[in-house]
């Protein structure tokens, strides 16, 4: 038996753990005493390792490179040389014919780690010559990154995960930690035991709402109205920290202009709670010694995502609830390394370390470090991931390189996304599983999985931690960074890294904020929390201490905005609000957790639509029955869970299901400031199905057909390679 230290590949909590290996197979997992998890692991950490072993429960792993020699042909197993030559040649042709900006790439915020992402963006910028690189933060916390950079300067949590426990008041806004980050929910329970006041703003009775002092059960889509009314209360009741506002912020007067139009009494109908409750919440937040606002997708996947983040950051600034320990803002990231992808510059406007693409000094620095001329680095901001569908439609994007993501599952309006991927001239997918997205690719490149490679992840609270390999790569899988490097060499920009440490040391050199995070410091249970400019110490748990913000003049910019109603409001045809949420036992597109035995047993297709008992009764729906959910985009079959924690007039579906797929129903409307889809609000209806036995069999058939289709695509890798004579 061997034990190998790693970091959990699921949420952004950054839990340290051991993988237990017997005869080359991972058989168990055990928690380690990491800085964020303190010897605990949730169900995904404890039971989420067996996907590495290729269990084929949901979909097989891809172990050999495959290509379609012509568009629409069958996948064929080929050698790595042929796959890479083919890919390089196609990309060069497209670059020659349509220019470098016709090629779009997306990074992976999941298992690959920071080094692989860094090499991919270097390949994009220095070799392809475009800034068309993005990551899945676009669909989740991009509004937080943008909104916080606009106001206070750094697009990350200003506090640390262990620090949550020490706060005197925690306000959760559109964030359900018990489902998305159980390890963070544990900190909130502990904070409460230590006497913290808890405020929850959420339309559902989420777990934390049960232990909250104040639960504002607001209407869906009323975020900004509520935040403005809290700000109004703070101003009217004299709770503004004038000294802090004068010394450390700017824009107070124009901020005030907007918020003074939103008295709690005036927004009672919009928000759906009493003015007194809003006032009490505002007072509790402003009067506590230290307060933290935590938020999640309930804030960002909305029409006004960025503007809501502006309002949150401004609220923290006017009350002086930022700039001291255990006090500030906490956008907790959903994927284990989505903070890392942003850190590594997998963004169309930023180089690694949040250095702006438009800044000529930054470009000159990177040109020197990467040994290219400044002219070779594009000064134009690239496309966002959500620009892909219309970019393909209007012919500006011709090729797409997908790295460890499954947009067909995770992006809104799947039917439109499927057409987009099929209309591409050239589509590369580098992944560990035959996902629905990979099944459409012209080139399938098999990468090593978490557990088979090493590197550094960034947890949600800016903590860098190392993870190691537990088992050797399967089949012909290569490390992600090796694939990019070999492709880059073939396309005329050679890279010669020998291991992840060499890549990491280059990252430290070009990103002053990360310089102190050496591999040696992160040995074992060691960690480094950025900003960490020096090799001494473990970094910075709390940002902006003393009120010094990371803006150009060191002051926070206060911003306020008017509330706007959601895009698609319910009507007679589609009377219910559809909101997409998270499954506690599954993760992201489910390709990983769906292949884990215990997790697949706990929750399997078609997932649930959670519905209030009143809405269910009026539709003749009983608990656990299969139902149709339909919207203007499509119709899916799923299971009803009659749940009194749900507000009447809204239904909630988790986005992990491939059959009960809520993204067949959601619409592709995005926040113009961030390009993030409005996944939390669209309209739909639910209908009962009379013949339940038929429905059960139909669902089972759909599920088995999907699995069989993906298995058949993956089976092409088992075909024998053609002999040398045949290739000649």
């Amino acid at each position: 038996m061997e034990k190998h230290m790693t970091v959990c590949p699921y949420c952004g909590a950054g839990c340290k753990m051991n993988l237990i290996v017997e005869n080359g197979v991972i058989v168990d997992a055990e928690p380690l005493d990491g800085v964020t998890n303190e010897g605990n692991l949730c169900l995904k950490g404890l039971s989420g390792f067996d996907f590495v072993n290729d269990t084929k429960i949901l979909t097989p792993r891809i172990l050999y490179p495959m290509i379609r020699r012509t568009k629409g042909a069958d996948l064929k197993r080929v050698t790595w040389d042929e796959a890479l030559d083919f890919t390089a040649q196609k990309l060069l042709e497209i670059k020659e014919k349509y220019g470098p900006d016709s090629i779009m790439l997306t990074g992976s915020s999941r298992g690959p780690g920071n080094e692989a992402n860094y090499v991919m963006q270097k390949f994009t910028r220095a070799c392809v010559g475009t800034n068309n690189i993005d990551n899945c933060a676009r669909t989740c916390h991009a509004p937080s990154v943008i909104g916080l950079m606009d106001t206070i300067g750094s697009g990350a949590m200003s506090v640390s995960i262990p620090g949550l426990e020490e706060a005197a008041c925690i306000m959760l806004f559109g964030y359900n930690p018990a489902a998305s980050h159980p390890i963070v929910a544990r900190r909130i329970v502990k904070a409460r035991e230590k006497g913290a006041r808890i405020i929850v703003c959420d339309p559902r009775v989420i777990e934390t709402a049960r232990i909250a002092d104040i639960h504002i059960q607001m209407k869906n889509g009323s975020n900004l109205a509520l935040l403005n009314a809290m700000a109004y209360t703070i101003v009217e009741e004299g709770l503004v920290d004038k000294a802090f506002v004068d010394a450390h912020t700017k824009g107070y007067e124009s901020w005030l202009d907007v918020v003074m139009q939103y008295s709690p009494e005036a927004v009672e109908d919009t928000v759906g709670v009493s003015a007194d409750l809003i006032r009490e919440a505002a007072r509790t937040y402003a009067q506590a010694e230290t307060s933290i606002i935590g938020w999640g997708m309930g804030v960002t996947q909305q029409r006004q995502g960025v503007q809501t983040v502006h309002a949150i950051a401004s609220l923290a600034c006017v009350t002086g609830k930022i700039g001291k320990p255990h006090c500030g803002v906490a956008p907790v990231r959903g994927q284990n390394n989505v903070q890392g992808s942003c850190d590594m510059g997998m963004l169309p406007n930023l180089y690694p370390g949040y250095q702006k693409v438009g800044d000529s000094k930054v470009r000159a620095k990177f040109a020197k470090a990467w040994n290219v001329s400044v002219e070779q680095l594009s000064n134009k901001e690239g496309y966002k991931l959500t620009d892909l569908p219309h970019g393909v439609k209007d012919g500006t994007i011709k090729a797409f390189y997908n790295f460890g993501e499954d947009p067909l599952q995770t992006e809104p309006d799947s039917a439109d996304m499927e057409k987009t991927l099929k209309d591409l001239e050239f589509f590369i997918s580098q992944d560990i599983f035959m996902t629905q997205t990979t099944a459409l690719a012209d080139v399938v490149l098999p990468a090593t999985s978490w557990g088979e490679h090493e590197g550094v992840f960034t947890a949600s609270d800016r903590t860098f931690q190392r993870f190691t390999a537990a088992v050797p790569p399967k089949g012909e899988c290569k490390h992600d960074w090796e694939i990019f490097q070999e492709l880059s060499c073939r396309m005329g920009y050679p890279m010669r890294y020998r291991n992840t440490k060499e890549i990491w040391d280059e990252i430290r050199e070009v990103c002053p904020q990360f310089y102190g995070a050496t591999y040696e410091k992160m040995e074992g249970l060691g960690y480094a929390q950025w900003p960490i400019p020096d090799v001494d110490g473990e970094g910075t748990p709390d940002l902006y201490l003393g009120g010094t913000f990371n803006t150009s003049d060191g002051r926070a910019l206060l911003l306020s905005h008017r509330w706007v109603a959601p895009t698609e409001e319910p009507d007679d045809g589609y009377p219910l609000v559809l909101c997409t949420v998270r499954e506690v036992g599954h993760y992201s597109c489910r390709s990983m957790t769906g292949n884990c035995r215990a997790l697949a047993q706990l929750a399997d297709e078609p997932g649930y639509v959670h519905i209030n008992p009143i809405d269910a009764e009026s539709r003749g729906i009983r608990d656990e029955e299969l139902v149709w959910v339909y919207s203007r985009r499509g119709k899916v079959i799923t299971r009803a869970s009659i749940d009194e924690r749900i507000n009447a007039g809204a239904v909630y579906m988790t986005y992990q299901w491939w059959i009960g797929k809520c993204n067949d129903l959601t619409m592709h409307v995005t926040d113009p400031l961030s390009g993030t889809p409005e996944d939390k609000f669209s309209s739909c209806d639910v209908a009962s199905i009379g013949d339940q036995v038929w429905a059960e069999q139909h669902m089972e058939m759909l599920y088995n057909e999907l699995k069989a289709r993906l298995a058949a695509e993956a089976a092409h890798q088992d075909e024998p390679l053609p002999s040398y004579a045949e290739i000649q």
């Binding site: 169900l43 084929k56 777990e207 049960r210 215990a598 036995v693 699995k707």
Partner: protein
């Protein structure tokens, strides 16, 4: 004397880590993999519900073939010999016994089920073609783990294993507290007695 696991609903976050670890430990031991506890959520409460290993266990009393027994305070089912009559599940006042079987529709990954009932019916009425079920219930991980895995893995310490000793101390404490309230015992004396 009975041992059982209690839950503090104020600490439960409904994350189902207990269920996953229950599945894991029993699956590894070759027993039925169905979770032996169920996280129940109502508007105000989240709690894991499971067997109380009752002193006068009704499941043990009704079992027609005597495959439910008590060993060192743990009420267990012999899954190999159970005939799947479901009497124990009906008798259990906590709903802590679930019938479960091994599907013959294939192993994970290639299983092709043919459901013949609506999932909204009671689990006691569910049946799958060719599958014999047996009663599945909490065994406190006796013989499988040093202490129950759900208690070990709970993130917030919401689950704890209670035995008669703990209960006695707690009851004694409550009685003395009540007596103090009535001012019938001096506070100092009460403290001394409670500490014994």
């Amino acid at each position: 004397m009975n041992l059982y696991i209690v839950i503090n609903p104020d600490l439960c976050i409904g994350c189902r880590t207990c269920e996953a670890s229950c599945i894991g430990v029993h699956k590894k031991a070759g027993l039925q993999s169905a979770s032996r506890l169920a996280v129940v959520e109502t508007k105000r409460v989240s709690a894991a519900v499971m067997c109380h290993h009752c002193e006068s266990a009704p499941c043990l009393a009704v079992c027609p073939i005597g495959v439910i027994s008590r060993e060192d305070g743990v009420v267990r089912v012999d899954e190999q010999r159970c005939i799947g009559c479901k009497m124990c599940a009906i008798a259990c006042p906590y709903g802590a016994i679930t019938p479960s079987g091994t599907s013959v529709a294939g192993v994970e990954g290639i299983r092709y089920r043919t459901p013949t009932y609506s999932a909204s019916i009671s689990p006691l009425l569910e049946w799958e073609i060719g599958v014999a079920t047996c009663a599945v219930k909490c065994d406190l991980c006796a013989g499988l783990s040093a202490s129950p895995r759900c208690v070990e893995s709970c993130l917030t310490g919401a689950l704890s294993l209670i035995d008669q000793g703990d209960l006695n101390a707690e009851v004694r404490g409550k009685r003395h507290h009540a007596a103090e309230e009535l001012e019938s015992v001096s506070v100092e004396c009460s403290k001394v007695r409670r500490s014994q």
